[in-house]
Structures are given as structure tokens and as C-alpha cells.
Amino acid sequence: MADLKKQIIAQLNLKDLKPEDIGDDQPLFVEGLGLDSIDALELIVLLQQEYKIKLANAEEGQSVFRSVRTMAQYITDHQGKAAE
């Protein structure tokens, strides 16, 4: 999950954050890290680029990107079988 946090920080240009500042279960959006719909789109590309996982639509992101843990779980579940 530490790697994933690093990737999130890089992808979203969250310069003032360190990986350890993001809690595993901390909500990424709104009240948590304060991310928004554009960040969700950036994270979709991150999954595609780093893990070759393609989300079908933006709505699916809502549950996948709840926290770093849900994202990591989704990656574990889908890695390897995502090829189109």
C-alpha cells in the first residue's frame, strides 16, 4: 500500500503530502483527503498505467477509490485478469 500511496501522490501532484500522511482507511474524497471527480479520473488512468486494470466507467470509481485499502483490494482482485 505504501507504493500505491506514492503513486497517488505523484499522479495527483499532492506535493505537501508524504505516503505516511495518508491513512489506509482514510476516505480519499471530500471530507477525507479532499479529492474530487477529476482526481477520480486521474486514478482511473493510474490503475490502467501501473496495473493494467481498466475501469468500465467513472461511476465504478466511487466504490473502488473509497480509500487506499479499497483500491489495493481492487488491484489484488483484478490484476492479471483485466486484459481486454
Binding site: 471527480s37 479520473l41 482511473i44 488512468v45 467513472a58
Partner: protein, 399 residues
């Protein structure tokens, strides 16, 4: 009222026709302009439908009188602006103080993106003539000189509301007595840049768009240009017959919610429509038709619909999104739809919202689905909302 602004001419080129009459006949027969890409070169060709103007640059060059190596943005602009200009046929034009006020979002990007792949391989590569008209203002300069206009030129770029703002700025310059006649509207060509940009936002429909439908999936990009010719009361008096249509109201407001998304309650849309009504002194129940912004995205249609619900509660006028025909022509859309709005008033027409199937569950109204002629159309509201929260509404009225 002495500072009325009259509309004396319209010109258009879009995916459903290369001039006003072709556009009208497509609107009447319900023929949409989307399809597989024919001129735009993109890897998304088979997946993403677009609404292209059905002419290549060589043919556009012949129709516009410009060289074929000019940007498609300029070629489209030249065709529609010249049609509007000749349609207006203003006596003694050269003696009047005239302005050309245009709008677009990506300027000459259709050429720049070709230049750029060569340039990236080596900074000394890439033909300079492909980037010389990159700036948004370049197309405006080219067309202004075709039209012989020098007194005032301006280009506005406020994303999807660009040409609505161009029209409204032009009307104000007439109102203030700075200019006698203004040709205003906008142009945008399809580019890989915008196609891929909207694709990253995941708001492109891979089928034909269904604006204001419960099951809408997104928008189709289009291209084109639309211009109207506006004159002062004084100039209108010199015409063989007084024009029937005026620009009676307008308003520009900002949603100030998010860089790309509209606020859920459509604050910006509401303020723009309300402001246009207030400016004209016309009540909501007097509106006979709304030409919706209606892109077909989840976000736009609910925001715009919610704002309409709030403003028109109890007396919803007929409304439709002509983007179901033309696709979303971005910086040109306000001009294209201003032309349709003026034609609506001139000919008593209301246009259908194609492919509408299911009412949105949040809204108590549905768009018009059939073409209507001989309607008593007195007042038409045209909406243009976009990125950066830029929201503008124009109100056209019969004299």
C-alpha cells in the same frame, strides 16, 4: 426603446448542413449529423462517433474563398460569417462602423497538432505555416479581412459559452453607440486535442447522444460555425423592411463551483437564465421555446434541468437540445444555436430533441420530440454553459 439590437442576418455550417437552408431541412426531417469519423484522424475512429461537417478542407476552401492550408477553424468561420453577411445585405455597409466578434476554444489546433508531432521529433522540424494560425484570434483576423471589417475585432474564449458571450458583447457595443453593425458568433473545428481531452473526462457517448434522457451517457463532439448580424435601431430603419427579431436579453454568470463540473443545483445556469429574463423585462411564462445547452452528460443535463425547474415551475415551455443533431460544437455552439433560435422566431419553428426515450426522474418535464411549424414563437431562450463555470443565456424576441 431606442437601443434595440436587431438581427438582420444568419449564417451557419454544421454537421447537418453547409448553409441555413440545409440546416433547416435536416431539422425538419430529423436527420442527425453524427457518424463515424471521416476527416478527423484518430485511433478512436471506430469507437467514438462525432458530428463532422461533411466537407474536406479542399471543399471548404472553395466554399470560403480561402486557401486550403488554412485552419479548418478559419474555413468554417469564413463560410458561416459570409453567409450571414450576405443574408443581412445592409445598404451602405462600408460607411458604417462595423465589428466582427468571434469565438472559439482551440484556435488553429487542427493544424498545430500535426505540426507538433514533427516538432517533437526535432525542434527545427514542422512546417511553420501549420502553426502560424494557432492563436484563437487568428481565425477572427482572417475572416474580418474577408468581410472588410476593421473598426472592432475581438475573439472570446470561455469554453462552451464562448460564442454566446461574443454575441452579447457585440450587442452591448451597439447599445453603447460604439458600433452600428456587428457580426458575432463562433467557430470550432473537431481536433484530436479536444476529442482526447473530452475522452479523458469520460463524458463522450460511444453511441449517438440522448440529451435530457434518464439513460443519457454523454455527449458527441461536433464542429461548425454560426453567426448572426446585429444592427442598431438607426441602421434597421434604413433596411427595406424592419427585421422581425431582436436580441432582447442576455446574461453572463459564473457557477463558481468546479473547473469542469456544474453545481448540482445549476446555480450558474439559473443566474444566467434569470438575468437574461430580467434584462429583457420578459416573464418566464412568456418564453415560447428554450434551446437547451443539453449536452447529454449526466452532469450538465441535471444541473440545467434543475435550474429550469426552479425558474419555470408550473409553466414549462417547449424545449429541446439541437445538439442531438449537431453534436456539441463547443465554442461554436452558442452561435449555431443562436442561428436556430433566430430561425425559430422568424419562421415559427420548434425543433425536436432526437432520440429522447425516458423522462429524467428528477425533472417534471420532457423535451419536445417532433418538429413543429407555424407556432406562435415570440420569445426564445438559448443556453450555453461550460467549463470554468462560464454560463450565458441569450434571449431573442419577435418585434
Amino acid at each position: 426603446m431606442s437601443n434595440r439590437v436587431y438581427i438582420t442576418g444568419v449564417g451557419i455550417i454544421s454537421a447537418i448542413g453547409n448553409n441555413v437552408s440545409e440546416n433547416l431541412s435536416a431539422l425538419e426531417t430529423g436527420r442527425a449529423g453524427m457518424g463515424e469519423m471521416n476527416y478527423l484522424q484518430s485511433i478512436h475512429r471506430e469507437k467514438i462517433p462525432v458530428a463532422e461537417v461533411k466537407l474536406d478542407n479542399e471543399m471548404l476552401a472553395v466554399a470560403s474563398g480561402l486557401p486550403a492550408h488554412f485552419t479548418r477553424t478559419a474555413l468554417l468561420s469564413a463560410i458561416a460569417a459570409q453567409e450571414a453577411f450576405s443574408n443581412a445585405s445592409i445598404p451602405g455597409f462600408t460607411k458604417l462602423r462595423s465589428g466582427f466578434i468571434s469565438a472559439n476554444t482551440v484556435g488553429g489546433m487542427d493544424k498545430t497538432e500535426n505540426f507538433f508531432s514533427d516538432f517533437l521529433s526535432k525542434p527545427a522540424k514542422g512546417k511553420l505555416r501549420n502553426v502560424v494560425h494557432h492563436e484563437c484570434g487568428a481565425a477572427t483576423e482572417i475572416v474580418a479581412s474577408l468581410l472588410g471589417i476593421k473598426h472592432h475585432i475581438a475573439t472570446i474564449s470561455t469554453a462552451c459559452s464562448s460564442s454566446a458571450n461574443a454575441i452579447f458583447y457585440g450587442a452591448r457595443l451597439i447599445n453603447q453607440g460604439m458600433l452600428d453593425v456587428v457580426i458575432a458568433g463562433g467557430t470550432d473545428a473537431l481536433t484530436k486535442f479536444t476529442l482526447n481531452g473530452f475522452n479523458t473526462l469520460m463524458i463522450l457517448d460511444n453511441r449517438y447522444c440522448q440529451p435530457f434522457d434518464e439513460n443519457r451517457r454523454g455527449l458527441n463532439l461536433g464542429e461548425g460555425a454560426g453567426y448572426i448580424v446585429m444592427v442598431s435601431e438607426k441602421v434597421a430603419q434604413t433596411l427595406p423592411s424592419i427585421p422581425v427579431c431582436t436580441l432582447s436579453g442576455y446574461c453572463n454568470a459564473n457557477d463558481a463551483y468546479h473547473q469542469t463540473a456544474s453545481s448540482p443545483d445549476g446555480t450558474g445556469s439559473y443566474l444566467a437564465m434569470k438575468g437574461a429574463l430580467e434584462k429583457s423585462g420578459i416573464r418566464a411564462e412568456e418564453i415560447d421555446y428554450i434551446n437547451l445547452h443539453g449536452t447529454g452528460t449526466q452532469n450538465n443535463d441535471i444541473a440545467e434541468g434543475t435550474a429550469i425547474k426552479l425558474l419555470f415551475e408550473g409553466h414549462y415551455p417547449p424545449m429541446s437540445s439541437t445538439k442531438s443533431f449537431t453534436g456539441h460544437t463547443l465554442g461554436a455552439s452558442g452561435g449555431v444555436e443562436a442561428v436556430y433560435s433566430v430561425l425559430s422566431i422568424q419562421h415559427g419553428l420548434i425543433y425536436p430533441n432526437l432520440r429522447f426515450e425516458t423522462q429524467m426522474k428528477e425533472l417534471p418535464f420532457t423535451p419536445v420530440t417532433t418538429f413543429k411549424k407555424n407556432e406562435a414563437v415570440q420569445n426564445v431562450l438559448s443556453n450555453s454553459f461550460g467549463f470554468g463555470g462560464n454560463c450565458s443565456s441569450l434571449l431573442f424576441s419577435k418585434v
